[in-house]
């Protein structure tokens, strides 16, 4: 099952690459650099998926104390942090030629940076507790608090800043880009979500193996 996911993600990612460079049109104002969007946006959105899964798994763990839920939360957290870190890096690399600066405190970048630090904290908390049962419990509480905080972060930062073009996908008005851009974007998005699922499943399996090795 996990292996299927693995191969599926490879196929999907290749398809995504083909679409990003072969099918997607060259953007008028930004030029080639705009193609970075086809990894940047899927990375960020996949990390949101990861954090939501983390929150749900944390909730399930607190209710049932099932170690599988804890492992899913842990794995999801790791991959989520990795993806959002890459999201920040690619966003920054995209920003330099486009806006002339490596960083700007606009709504989207700021929110993403805050989430990154929050979930790095989640991983640090897990790392600081030796007793696995305690670590699972505390991490679950933090995971739930963090997830509840996400909408608060989103709104507060958005009200504070609106330099960045309003996020076309998340705004109530709906997507305003052309369809030629939409399809490569969607294919890449699906590819990265599948990759997230594969890596999380594999990491969770490794966590179980490590737990059994100690026992």
């Amino acid at each position: 099952m996990i292996r299927t996911l693995g191969w599926l993600s490879v196929v999907a990612l290749v398809a995504g690459l083909v679409m990003s460079f072969g099918v997607a049109p060259r953007e008028v104002t930004q030029g080639t650099v705009q193609r970075i969007m086809y990894v940047h946006v899927p990375l960020v959105i996949s990390s949101y998926v990861a954090f939501i899964v983390l929150a749900v798994a944390s909730f399930v763990y607190l209710l049932r104390r099932d170690p599988r839920a804890d492992r899913v939360a842990h794995a999801s957290g790791e991959i989520g942090v990795m993806f959002i870190g890459l999201g920040i890096a690619t966003g920054s690399i995209w920003g330099k030629p486009t806006w002339g600066t490596w960083w700007t405190w606009d709504a989207r970048l700021t929110s993403v940076a805050i989430l990154f630090v929050m979930y790095v904290g989640y991983l640090l908390l897990r790392g600081s507790i030796d007793d696995p049962e305690r670590a699972a419990r505390f991490a679950a509480v933090l995971g739930i608090v963090a997830a509840l905080d996400i909408p608060l972060v989103h709104f507060s930062v958005y009200w504070w800043r609106t330099l960045h073009q309003p996020p076309s996908l998340m705004k109530p008005g709906g997507f305003t880009g052309s369809t030629a851009i939409l399809w490569p974007l969607l294919v890449n998005l699906v590819a990265f979500v599948i990759l997230y699922a594969y890596l999380t499943a594999r990491r969770a399996r490794l966590l179980r193996a490590e737990a059994e090795a100690v026992a």
Partner: protein, 225 residues
């Protein structure tokens, strides 16, 4: 003992301990004076820059004091080996949380009043018109900081690198509260009416409710042992 009585007992004990030792209070007062001093050195001469930066620095003072105060919430229990006593306490442990929250709120309010008073005096700021609005903003913001702060203090009380981990966990989660309070304070000090910052107040109120509910519901989990 009923739930409310237990919570009150915890709160009274903590306030009494603090009143007698004044350890935390002294550290916070000294720190606030230091902040004031540094602020004066860097910006005292330039009135315009000072006015522009004031809301941010004011809340910086509040937050840093809060970190100090909240981080020490369970210090007494840990240092004097009373932690087991907490874990073995009968009944709903969230009563302990509310008691700790109450004493933290009292401590933070005292320090904030002091910091605000010092700022007003030393930088000659006229806050009379803004005061009622300011009162609400500070109350909402302090509540938000204290609710999550008390929960996280319990969480980090017995982990490695506690002193570093506590602010690392608390500050990112509190960014919405900080943004809202600083922007609202800024607007109020510029003379805007309370209605102009209604959205910030709503955000703060929503945050406060969410934080309180989650903390009360999950505190038992933290103290399971």
């Amino acid at each position: 003992m009923t739930y409310a009585r237990r919570a009150l007992a915890v709160a009274r004990k903590d306030v009494a301990v603090e009143r007698r030792s004044k350890e935390t209070l002294n550290a916070l007062v000294f720190f606030s004076l230091l902040l004031l001093f540094v602020f004066q050195i860097t910006l005292g001469a330039d009135r315009d820059r000072l006015a522009a930066v004031l809301p941010g620095v004011l809340w910086l003072g509040f937050v840093l004091s809060a970190l100090l105060a909240l981080g020490r919430t369970f210090l007494v229990e840990r240092e004097h080996d009373c932690w087991e006593g907490l874990l073995l306490a009968p009944g709903d442990k969230s009563a302990i949380y509310l008691g700790k929250l109450a004493s933290n709120l009292v401590l933070m309010t005292v320090v904030e009043a002091l910091v605000l008073g010092l700022f007003v005096i030393f930088f000659d700021i006229d806050i009379r018109r803004a005061l009622p609005g300011l009162f609400i903003v500070v109350a909402l913001g302090t509540f938000g900081l204290a609710t999550v702060g008390t929960l996280f203090a319990a969480m980090t009380a017995n982990v490695r690198a506690r002193e570093v981990l506590f602010p690392v966990l608390l500050l990112p989660v509190q960014v919405p509260v900080l943004l809202a309070t600083v922007k609202a304070t800024e607007a109020l000090l510029l003379g805007e009416p309370l209605g102009a910052v209604a959205h910030w107040l709503k955000l703060l109120a929503a945050a406060d409710v969410i934080y309180l509910v989650v903390s009360v519901l999950t505190f038992d989990v933290i103290l399971e042992g």
